[in-house]
Subunit: 473 residues, 2 copies
């Protein structure tokens, strides 16, 4: 398919409807582009202004003397068709339409009109009814959201604009790093499948994360997603309840469908599902930082029996039930813990465990061929400093040449919070409850299974070809 | 039953096994009692020391010249029986046995022995295998946990010591306020039912919160709990999976049983269940701060469609499905929002909503007889300051004379975090995701249903009595 670089990596942007009123969206977008240090060219367009925020303002896009990649349309819905027409004449390749007042309020006609105009010029539309596009690698806040998200490798695509803005702020509190935040709105033209298909090739994206209220073309979504094995896709589907699906329909005008239908479709599409907003963040973080889990053997290392039991429950709930490790692994683990510890799974290195014991146990586990992934659980104690523990875990995962995933749960106070922050920055996802660390690991396993299934299908395909070849002789 | 004041509100404490070694538990407990500013008398006991931390040290409890309410036993398991014998002779009423090495490692004999000795002196035992007792109202950290928890009205009883210590620290991060933290360990004598029964009369406890791995006497637990209507009880049961139940058994030596058996027992006992560690904190907080929800009509007020849909899904999942509000309420709500808002449930006052709109909508909702509880959802936007919103919500709930519960979800950045902190301190529980605010409300409804059922049963009992009376005439 065609390249969406002009939309998501534009070299120049026109803001059609740019404004000098600080309370307007047309002002916010211009200001946000400047504040985010966008390196491309910015062309404000407003028939009544000559200058906005020290930038020369054009009375029409047609007056802009240079090429324009992306048009951000901040005029009201009713004016949008004529403005898009002008963008087409100018040769703009992509427009992001911020205004609401289209299919979500019954104005399908207006939406069809702008799509028709765009098509006639070979132009793509993002929206309408969106917040805009935020990109850390591009230093581009082409939206009316307040600032770029905490930097990282997740590209999140959201059907809800308000949620996108709120989550944007929250990424800084939770330190969940994003590459792009894309508001997809009514999906009049570009839909989830198109945007996913584009970001599969983006080097700054390690995980594609979706907030979905409804998908319009299910077949296309499945066909595009299932071919993407190189990057995990994770989705939170809202509107899964009877009444929730009605609410979703009135919100973005899309058919919500039952939760079961979507779960089945996600499975077919090789998309990992998330179950709550926290879970979407948790799983996206793990999938953006850690390799997939390539086998069923999860080992848990803990200093507390209670959290071990909670993690064991969660492992069963999320489809990665624990098994006992082989004897030789048990023996090796036994050597680094006191007699009253347990080398069963969860491995309980006891409340006496120091950061060093954790480091040793984690290295032993990662090096053993039986182990496919490790979840480390830690309860703050007086005999261990969580900051030292973070250093030990980082060191053990950093020399993890076998490329096995690690997720972590820390429960504790302010010192623990600092230890979490440090370790997360080093690329190890840390959660504040054992079941959340396990859910994150389960998403890595789910992605691992999709990869294995994908390879299988690919292999079968080759087999068939071979049969054919042999049949010819 | 007898009064456990000497155990939980002691006027004097002997630490048997007090030590001058800063790494020992016997040292920690003495230091923690001093640091927490405990107002009662502290008597360290150690045959080999004359002074510990500037306190006179006794060579035996029998040497202490004054009455002792509580003995904290910090000697190893093997020495415990003889020490408990001395405590009995001294007339101590309660002992908290910290040492492990009893039934959890197969030494049921040793555990039976100390129970036998205690009984012969009319003494009660907490533990063994515990961390101790923390009390904010008593300013008493009679444990080897680092400090008292964030102050509040939850009394939490935990079967896991390591978890208790870690959660103790976490209360300060999450600002979830505790009255008591009680480590219950192996429950050789005092069990959940005994401790619950005691705290039902404690004025500083508004909610009793349990971390349960296994209950030994199910009948007693149900009988005691179901009679307590004046205070909510909430429980997280770990070890609900096949393997988790085995792990729990080896951890505290109690029979874990299946998750379903426990769910049924909790229902019979009128105990609200929590489903994860986060959920235990979330639900305990709501139950300690807000009144029960006395009817099925939940109204949601939101400024974002997306979070509204997520909350609608959660309401169905947690058994409080949304219904449309009556016309007159819709009309009143319509007056405070723009035309494109929605007065259906969830009530969407739109992304344009100011703090003031929220305040008005919340007051209208709380005053309307149809409404039994309100969940407020907020996505941070540029047109509303979350700190002002917190003030509006506080004012509306503060003049809520109808005594209806309110739970809140805020999604946003650092300013939102400060707004959450402020509102939580004022007694309104705030969560960082819509489904969590709904789960908290569902726990208030569950408690409300138990109260209604309890009253029904009580009323039926009266009816029977009346029949009897009439029959006599």
């Amino acid at each position: 398919m065609e390249n969406l670089d002009p939309m998501f990596k534009p070299k120049s942007i026109a803001i059609v409807g740019a404004s000098r009123d600080p309370h307007s969206i047309g002002f916010s977008v211009v200001k946000n582009l400047i504040d985010s240090k966008y390196q491309g060219k910015i062309f404000p367009v407003n028939p009544k202004a000559d200058e906005i925020l020290d930038l020369k303002c054009y009375h029409s896009v047609l007056e802009i003397p240079e090429d324009v990649d992306l048009g951000i349309i901040t005029v009201p819905a009713s004016v949008t068709p004529s403005v898009i027409e002008e963008c087409g004449k100018k040769g703009i390749k992509g427009v992001a339409v911020i205004a609401s007042g289209f299919s979500e309020v019954g104005r399908e006609d207006l939406e069809e009109k702008i799509v028709g105009i765009a098509k006639s010029y070979g132009m793509r539309i993002l929206g309408p009814n969106i917040v805009g596009i935020m990109s850390n690698p591009m230093k581009m806040n082409a939206s009316f959201g307040p600032y770029l998200p905490y930097p990282g490798k997740i590209t999140m695509i959201s059907q809800s604009g308000a949620l996108l803005i709120a989550l944007d702020s929250r990424t800084w509190v939770d330190r969940v790093g994003m590459s792009y935040l894309v508001s997809i709105g009514n999906m009049s033209d570009l839909d989830f499948a198109d945007v996913i298909d584009y970001f599969k090739n983006d080097e700054e994206t390690k995980c594609i994360s979706l907030y979905v209220e409804g998908i319009k073309n299910g077949r296309k979504f499945i066909d595009v997603s299932k071919k993407i094995l190189e990057k995990p896709i994770v989705a939170l589907k809202s509107g899964v309840s009877t009444r929730g699906s009605l609410a979703a329909a009135s919100h973005t005008g899309s058919l919500a469908g039952s939760g079961k239908v979507y779960s089945a479709a996600f499975k077919q599409a090789g998309v990992v599902q998330a179950y709550t907003l926290d879970d979407l963040f948790d799983r996206s973080l793990a999938l953006s930082l850690q390799p997939p889990m390539r086998g069923e053997n999860l080992l848990i290392i803990t200093n507390g029996g209670g959290v071990g039991v909670l993690a064991t429950d969660a492992a069963e709930k999320y489809g990665i039930p624990l098994k006992d490790p082989p004897e030789d692994l048990k023996q090796k683990l036994k050597e680094i813990m006191p007699d009253f510890g347990s080398a069963k799974n969860p491995v309980d290195i006891t409340g006496m465990a120091s950061a060093e014991w954790y480091g040793k146990a984690l290295k032993i586990a990662l090096q053993h061929p039986w182990v496919d992934g490790v979840t480390v659980l830690y309860c703050e104690t007086s005999v261990s400093d969580p900051r030292e523990l973070s250093m030990e875990i980082f060191e053990a995962t950093n020399c993890n040449r076998t490329n096995k995933p690690v997720t972590v749960s820390y429960i504790g106070g302010e010192v623990t919070e600092r230890a979490i922050e440090w370790l997360q920055k080093k690329g190890v996802p840390v959660y504040r409850a054992p079941d959340r660390a396990i859910s994150a690991m389960a998403s890595l396993r789910e992605y691992g299974r999709y990869i294995e299934k994908g390879f299988d299908e690919f292999n079968r395909f080759e087999d068939v070809d071979n049969e054919k070849v042999r049949g010819n002789f």
